[in-house]
Amino acid sequence: MTIARLKASLLVLPLIVFLGLFFIWPLWMMIATSVQGGTVRLAFPATAVAIAQWNGDGLPSPDVQAALIQDLRAEVVQEVFGDAVRSLNSQQAGFRTLLPRTMTALRNAGADATPKLERIDPRWSQPSFWLALKRGMPAYTDANLLAAVDLKRGDDGTIAHVAPDMAVNRAIMLRTFIIAAQVTLACAAIGLPFAMLAASLGGWKRNFLLLAVLLPLWTSLLVRTAAWMILLQDQGLINQILKALGLIDASLPLIYNRTGVLIAMTHVLLPFMVLPIYASLIAIPRNLMPAAAALGARPWQAFRHVLLPLAMPGLLSGSLLVFMVALGYYITPALTGGAGDQMISSVIAFYATGTANWGMAGALGLFLLVPTTLLYIVYGRLSRTPLGQA
């Protein structure tokens, strides 16, 4: 490598550091967190050794119970204990109270006493708690990844579906992709004519249109949502106007359902569609449309054969942008949607901030990330095919 090249690569070093620190590292952490077990073994080292001998049938031997009692009596870093409790409770609801309660009881009983665990809490007589403990021991776990797609390890260790009334992630994930696709279509349907209009105008009219479409980006979420409520609710402006015009008798349900979600999300994501299309439209030489007309193309033919193909790179990047940003939405759908409009990010947020279950949050995030990345790669391939002057 020549000195010049070395210097050049030094110039991009800050970029590489930035990407590494703010993009790759968090991403790696997310993936790692979702498959890392180990905290249970760290918090219960003696139990880890003893429970490995247990075959998982019935209740474990008294040795295992004694080992657990030994671990619970030993001093352990509180945060490690907390992490272990969290990951156990995620697999078997109840550990959250069971372990601290057992620990307190054991310490109060004194070091010499040999209390029975099931006396302290009857849940210790349920094999499912012991199984969860055994399964929580390995350094790496697929529990989060499985749970993210409504699967689990059955009692015999094979992969099985979770109970139907607990199976929710796949449905929400699918719904997330459907909503994102619907919003993308809506944005394209509105954004293309809008960008064409803006590109065809000049001066202040063009600036006004572009400003209007950018406005929602600069408006706070709550103000925007409040505005949509005023417009869309049963007694809202739109329903009142439609009633006054005699077009409808009963209010149209425009908010707290999918319609509301689509309207509100399309509104705020529209600039991500309009701007790329607009950019590709103004790059089209001015005389192409007159040329098409002179060559015999009717307006719609000129649009179909000349304008649309040339606007396609913009339309594609706009669609991709809108789709990917839409995938991450959850506050807007939560505020304007109904029962069936929750998106996957709200589930991720629930695990991340609500219960500090980073493993589940990471696993769900991964299932959101992988299709998005694939999509991006496909787009990259598409946009590399030479499209005229591009």
Partner: protein, 350 residues
């Protein structure tokens, strides 16, 4: 702009790491974090400013939307950039078990017996008592609903209703509507079939429901007439009645109250100042001013006793309002929130 927030959030987290490493040596002003809005305005007036004047050192205040993951991330990042934080009961319990809070020096607060039992913990000092309850607009609803059974009665009270999205509160209210006595609600939920029973009851009104997410939404829903009844936070209801002259009413029997507490984040460089602040905010003469601005109950017994009778009537802690009300069962929810949220979301989507 959820994703934007997430991006900023994760960038902030990483930046926080760097900054907190840099800032560890330099002193940061005491930073107090609460729920924002009118409530924090009132707190600023009666706690933050007077405390800053008394100590002669500035007090920074920030607001947050809750979530034990948020405080946990701050503590795990090294030196947290928050000191005293107001948390909900479940965040207190989980965080305390996880060791992300400093231990409270009860001697500075004059002893545990000065406070309600539910406001005392190793890691936190109760700040307010607040209720979630059935609310309606008495201007629009001529027959007053009196119970959660009325909430479920779509013949007697036609129209949409609203509850907070999530299993917490919804399951309790459903059981009460199904005839379970308030005091037996959690025993029923813990017993076999109790949760099924609650979901079955929710099935009855699923088609008439709007699910709200933020505390301001139920007010808007009531005001616009979009719903006839909703669950809502009591402080918000008395607040909007005062500021906008609405005639929203609440049903105390069947309400569920909870205690919010002050905690100090582990590793806080202003640990002592934070403890002094919490003691200051817990003094009866300071705390008793709060109900003038917002109708939350007071955990300090002497402060509660000093509230004028007309204001006390609106507080969740007044004896009349407590009859038929229950405290949220944090143990139950901390054990079951993940599974029940999953099930609730599955139920919603069906």
């Amino acid at each position: 702009m959820a994703s934007f927030k997430q991006v900023i959030g994760s960038a902030g987290l990483a930046a926080g790491l760097v900054l907190s490493a840099l800032g560890a040596a330099s002193a940061r002003d005491l930073t107090v974090v609460s729920w924002g809005g009118n409530y924090q305005d009132a707190q600023r007036k009666i706690y933050f400013k007077p405390f800053a004047e008394k100590t002669g050192k500035p007090v920074l205040d920030e607001s947050w939307d809750g979530g034990v993951g948020v405080v946990q991330a701050k503590v795990k990042a090294g030196v947290p950039n928050w000191d005293a934080v107001q948390v909900e009961a479940d965040e207190l319990a989980i965080g305390c078990a996880d060791g992300i809070y400093e231990k409270i020096d009860w001697a500075k607060l004059g002893g545990k017996d000065k406070f309600l039992d539910s406001a005392v913990s190793d890691c936190g000092v109760g700040a307010i008592v607040w209720s979630t309850m059935l609310s309606y607009d008495s201007d629009k609803l001529k027959t007053a609903p009196t119970s959660w059974a009325d909430f479920w009665d779509t013949k007697k009270f036609p129209g949409k209703r609203a509850l907070r999205r999530g299993p917490k509160y919804a399951l309790e209210f459903a059981l009460m509507a199904d005839g379970v006595a308030a005091k037996d609600v959690y025993a029923t939920l813990r017993a076999a079939g109790g949760i099924d029973r609650a979901f079955k009851k929710l099935d009855e009104i699923k088609g008439d429901m709007i699910w709200w997410e933020s505390g301001a939404q139920p007010l808007q829903l009531l005001k616009s007439g979009q719903v006839v009844m909703t669950s809502a936070y009591n402080g918000r209801i008395t607040g909007i009645n005062k500021t906008e002259g609405t005639k929203f009413k609440t049903v105390w029997p069947g309400s569920i109250y909870a205690v919010d507490s002050w905690v100090i984040l582990k590793g806080s460089p202003n640990k002592d100042a934070a403890m002094d602040f919490i003691a200051f905010a817990s003094l009866p003469e300071n705390q008793s001013k709060l109900p003038q601005d917002i109708a939350y109950g007071l955990p300090n017994k002497a402060a509660a006793a000093a509230v004028p009778a007309d204001l006390a009537a609106d507080l969740p802690t007044s004896p009349a309002n407590l009859s038929g009300a229950i405290s949220i069962d944090i143990d139950f929810w901390n054990d079951n929130i993940e599974d029940l949220t999953k099930r609730f979301n599955a139920w919603l989507g069906k």
